[in-house]
């Protein structure tokens, strides 16, 4: 059972499934890094992306090249709506974190119920079949989904990192994540940066959901569990460290797939919660992972840490 071929197969499947976990984790980590919110509305965006795609493909019989872009647009519209009529108003009112949390939590729950009402609580996939042709490469079975999914996921990740590093607006996002007030003094429009971040996060989550929905079944609640996975990856990766979240997502995918060998199937769902608590107890600050960022970014953070209140992760309260 533990022969090399099995282990190789599990590793390959882990890497393949990590494709969507990486996108969910990057989406969650990005909103936390720049907008300083635990963006649980991500689950709503994920659900809307999936169900729009499902509805267009299966109920309306539209081709995928129309359905998927349309679903992406739906996810972006919802993200825009959430930012403009939700987050930005709460930010303006300077409400406590508590109310921001209630908002995000309630939006994610509301979506679950709305979708249950519209589509029922059964499982669906985007396409009729979720089985993909398999090619054997040596002892490893590679499904037709694997390679495209990896290309899409890591391609998106690469574009995101390049965007943050080299584009003007990407640098604005990094600046706002470091010190929003200072960024504003330099003439960066915070509101636009926050909106852009939420839109990018929404797009990442939606793409991840397309990958997921082509290979696995989705219920109205699925996105909540997937998002919890992203939350765990974000914490393990170290809050504010996108690259760390990416690595952690891959690691979690490996653990989850390898657990098939050790844990019976009914306890599989329990694994993510066990990892969550283990993380909080043993790795509260996250793993110290390498960071992609400009020198300027790290420097300013240290100075602001040194001069102002140094208590751990992001804004527990807005002053």
């Amino acid at each position: 059972m533990f022969d090399l071929a099995t282990i190789m197969q599990i590793l390959w499947t882990s890497v393949a499934t990590s494709s969507y976990y990486v996108l969910f984790a990057l989406s969650f980590a990005l909103a936390l890094k720049v907008n300083k919110v635990f963006n649980f509305t991500q689950a709503a965006v994920m659900s809307v992306a999936f169900y729009t795609a499902y509805g267009c493909v299966q109920l309306l019989d539209w081709p995928a090249f129309i359905a998927l872009p349309l679903a992406l647009v739906a996810a972006l519209v919802l993200s825009w709506f959430i930012e403009v009529f939700g987050f930005s108003i709460l930010r303006e009112r300077k409400v406590e974190m508590l109310f921001v949390f209630i908002f995000t939590f309630m939006v994610s729950q509301l979506t679950v119920y709305l979708i249950s009402l519209a589509f029922g609580t059964w499982s669906h996939t985007i396409f009729q079949s979720m089985f993909w042709p398999v090619t054997l490469v040596g002892p490893i079975a590679i499904s037709g989904w694997d390679i495209p999914a990896l290309v899409v996921a890591f391609g998106s990740a690469a574009i995101l990192f390049a965007f943050l590093r080299f584009s003007r607006w990407g640098q604005f996002m990094v600046a706002v994540s470091d010190n929003p007030d200072l960024a504003e003094l330099y003439g960066i429009e915070k509101r636009k940066v926050y909106l852009l971040t939420i839109l990018i996060a929404g797009a990442l989550a939606a793409i991840g959901m397309f990958l997921y929905g082509m290979r696995a079944q989705v219920q109205p609640r699925t996105s909540l569990d997937l998002m919890l996975f992203a939350t765990v990856a974000t914490i393990i990766g170290g809050i504010g460290n996108l690259f760390g979240a990416l690595i952690a997502a891959v690691g979690l995918a490996v653990i989850q797939n390898a657990s098939i060998l050790f844990i019976s199937s009914e306890w599989q769902a329990f694994l993510v919660y066990a990892i969550l608590f283990a993380t909080i107890i043993f790795l509260p600050g996250g793993l110290r992972m390498p960071k992609f960022g400009t020198r300027f970014e790290t420097k300013t953070r240290e100075i602001s840490l040194a001069e102002e209140t140094p208590s751990a992760p992001p804004s527990t309260r807005a002053e």
Binding site: K299, I303, A306, E307, T309
Partner: protein
């Protein structure tokens, strides 16, 4: 007079930046010591290190001879260490009076069992604390603000409330972080009086301040900090007239 607060060889760096570089400093009872230096010199960081909000990489802090290393902020405060904040940090949902009461040295109301089962003694302590708070407010010229909240007060008076709250602790060492920034007029004079009275009562006072006039009027002595080091210690007059230090302060 013997040292109340002793900082001995404290080092701290965040990543590559050293905010405390082998800092050794003693504060004596009854004296006011001013910390001078440009922004980013590590003055506030030194306060955070002393109060236990930031853990030093090495070095020792003692209060009245007792080693504080490894203690949490609240444990240090209970031993008689009190501080104010650059951004005041008053509790916005409490009245001024309640802000002071919650900082009292003896606060049995913190213990849920005592609140529920020893009502008489907690109420007695509450009354004592309220009386003491009113007394301190009176000394700070804030009698009229007892039932007001933070947002009712101008900035200068908020700063005074911050100092008044720090005095509820009967501290033997009081650290004031920019008490005069944004303070004008009547509050300015009151602040000076209050700090002087505290020192006269034997408290060791440390002040971080950019207002040179205030430092000169108030401090018995000063130290000059630059990029985490203490470069000089002496009379305030001597420090601010030293051309090299002035250059460091305004230069670069």
């Amino acid at each position: 007079m013997s040292a109340v607060l002793e900082i001995d060889g404290v080092n701290k760096s965040f990543g590559g930046i050293r905010v405390a570089h082998d800092v050794t400093l003693a504060l004596s009872g009854g004296k006011v010591l001013g910390l001078i230096g440009p922004n980013g010199a590590g003055k506030t960081s030194l306060f955070n290190l002393v109060c236990g909000i930031v853990k030093p990489d090495s070095g020792t802090v003692r209060l009245n001879g007792q080693v504080l290393d490894g203690m949490k902020p609240y444990e240090r405060a209970r031993l008689g260490l009190s501080r104010t904040w650059q951004h005041i940090r008053l509790m916005s949902s409490l009245t001024v009076l309640d802000n002071l009461i919650v900082g009292a040295r003896d606060y049995p109301g913190e213990n849920l069992a005592r609140v529920l089962f020893s009502v008489g003694s907690t109420n007695a302590a509450a009354r004592r604390n309220a009386e003491k708070a009113r007394d301190i407010l009176a000394r700070c010229g804030l009698e009229d603000t007892a039932d007001k909240t933070l947002s009712d007060l101008p900035y200068g008076r908020q700063k005074l409330v911050g100092v008044a709250r720090a005095m509820m602790n009967d501290a033997s060492c009081l650290l004031l972080d920019e008490p005069m920034a944004g303070v004008e007029g009547q509050s300015y004079a009151t602040m000076q009086k209050v700090v002087r009275e505290a020192a006269a009562a034997g408290v060791a006072v440390g002040v971080v301040e950019h207002n040179v006039a205030f430092i000169r009027d108030l401090c018995d002595e000063g130290v000059f900090m630059f990029s985490g080091r203490i470069l000089a210690r002496g009379t305030v007059e001597g420090l601010i007239s030293d051309p090299r230090l002035t250059e460091l302060y305004f230069g670069t």
